[in-house]
């Protein structure tokens, strides 16, 4: 197990190196002169020079690279142009919103997806199976941000049950928090239900066809127990794997959903920065979400190795 862990972390470090290098290089992809884009149209030469100095763009590339990594190791992601504060601060302030949205959506997606998948597998070929699978496919084809807007129209505008956006901190007003998070979390989660349902179903079908399940049935284990205990535990493995992928999709989706529901998270910060060309914030936000994703995938892999001994000895 230890060797597996060390290997896994070593390869994650390599991935993080690529991630941070790319994020660093991002500003070089900006066509033309970065400084003159950021400055007011009639900016003086000194003004442009000041902006370059602030972005370190007046240095040679290896100095830029070294100071990028030096700052990174100290947790310094640079200064935002528009917010007039450090990117790290701005992100830390907003990360709880993004993480709680992603986590809630994940719970919704896994609970609904796994239950739907199990029902479909147990009722294999029946109408329940067919309608769940059809719905799953439709779900995979819906743009999440659009679903959010439709949700706002139905539940906020037409019915008036939920707020159309905005955020209430959990500690300030738990009910208000739940109301403000309900629509965004469901919107984000529901788009991934289909994928989880499909994986759970095919994995359950695989397991239900195995000899040991037949043996369990033959020796008189109740049907519910066969499904819940014998089959489900073993069918879980592919579901765990896909959960790692889904967290990435949810983190990306959260960026857009925050924008739709005006939630003050990292995603909204990034998109605000995109529209106003606040490059340090784009770089910082991108880097942070990628780091979280890599970290989550290490955890998923370890969980996977824990559930399936073949992985850690293989």
């Amino acid at each position: 197990m230890l060797r597996y862990l060390v290997n896994r972390i070593a390869s994650a470090c390599l991935v993080l190196l690529v991630v941070s290098l790319f994020t660093f290089a991002l500003i070089w992809l900006v066509p033309g002169d970065v400084a003159s884009q950021l400055a007011d149209p009639g900016a003086s030469v000194e003004e442009l020079q000041r902006i370059r100095a602030r972005l370190n763009l007046d240095q040679s590339w290896h100095v830029q690279l070294l100071s990028w990594y030096g700052n990174l190791l100290r947790g310094d992601l640079g200064q935002s142009f528009l917010l007039n504060r450090s990117v790290t601060e701005a992100i830390i302030e907003r990360i709880p919103v993004t993480l709680s949205l992603t986590l809630l959506a994940l719970v919704i997606a896994v609970v609904l997806g796994v239950s739907a998948g199990i029902i479909a597998a147990v009722r294999h070929g029946g109408w329940a199976d067919q309608s769940i699978m059809a719905l799953a496919l439709v779900g995979l084809s819906i743009p999440d941000f659009w679903l959010g807007l439709v949700g706002i129209y139905v539940f906020a505008v037409a019915l008036g049950w939920l707020p159309s956006g905005g955020f209430v901190p959990l500690l300030q007003d738990p009910v208000g928090w739940a109301r403000s998070m309900a629509l965004p979390a469901f919107t984000l989660g529901i788009t991934q239900v289909g994928l989880i349902a499909r994986i759970t179903r095919s994995s359950m079908l695989d397991v239900l066809g195995q000899d040991y399940v037949r043996t369990a049935r033959a020796k008189g284990v109740p049907a519910f127990q066969v499904v819940a205990k014998h089959a489900f535990a073993n069918a879980l493995i592919p579901v765990i794997t896909v959960t790692g992928v889904i967290i990435g999709v949810l983190l990306g989706g959260a960026v857009v959903i925050e924008q739709v529901f005006s939630l003050p998270g990292v995603g909204r910060l990034i998109i605000g920065a995109v529209l106003r060309r606040d490059y340090p914030v784009i770089q910082g936000g991108l880097l942070l979400l990628a780091f979280i994703y890599v970290f989550v995938n290490i955890v998923v892999d370890l969980l996977y190795a824990y559930v399936d001994p073949r992985v850690r000895y293989g």
Binding site: V18, L26, P143, L275, V294
Partner: protein, 296 residues
Amino acid sequence: MADLASAERHETESLPPERFAMLKRFMANRSFVIGGALFVLVVMVALLADVIAPFDPLRNNFRYRLGPPNAAHLLGTDSFGRDVLSRLLHGSRVSLVIGLLVVILTGLFGTLIGAVSGYVRRLDNLIMRIMDGFMAFPPILLAIAIGAVLGPSLLNAVIALTVAYTPRTARIVRASVLVVRESEYVEAARALGAGHIRILFRHILLNSLGPLLVQLTFIFALAILAEAVLSFIGVGPSPPTPTFGNIIADGRNYIAEAPWITIWPGIAIMVTVLGLNLLGDGLRDVLDPRLRAEAR
């Protein structure tokens, strides 16, 4: 009836039996047929947009702003009084072109990178770690960031989405190259003195086409969804050019008074993507029997 039977028999004779069996398997696959039909429908609509669109998608009509659907404007009008249906028909073009370009470029780069990685053992580790690095970004976020620095345009959206989805394609190609590389007929070709390039293209890549095709169909679907997101947040092709995403972005501000502006483009995206997803499922069932067992 008799005519049909004889026609069928005739067809059996004229087609080589293998190809006919393949065709029959495609036609017997419900996902493939429904998905294919949906997708062909969308493509036809996009191609014929000029002919079937009742209005100029860019023409303003300030006397009928945010107009609800009526006989003249079947899906209503937007905040500039432009016909939503016409904008949708023309928008489908832009979205499909972006999707198609992303598929072509992703296919090209993904194949190149995946083939080199799978065939040249010494480079494999390095290339795949770089690909892993790119896959550590949520794809939509990566596309947003690249789109943001390059600036909003159709071409830049294509570049951004290609970068976001190429690693996945490369991984699929590499996986099938690794399998095919060890097969006996490749060994036979090598024994007969075939060069690396010939082996790679003629023997290995040609036999890895199935999984690639399946993957590219799903990437087409993902690219259309992602393009909508990019346009929605303002890093896609800039207005007034209609795309599914920027029609929704425009409608968002009027969701209470004029929900039709927002709702219809979403349904159009859904139909297009559903068609592609079904098509991909069908292709996978037929081309990749290994996975078929899993997807029962």
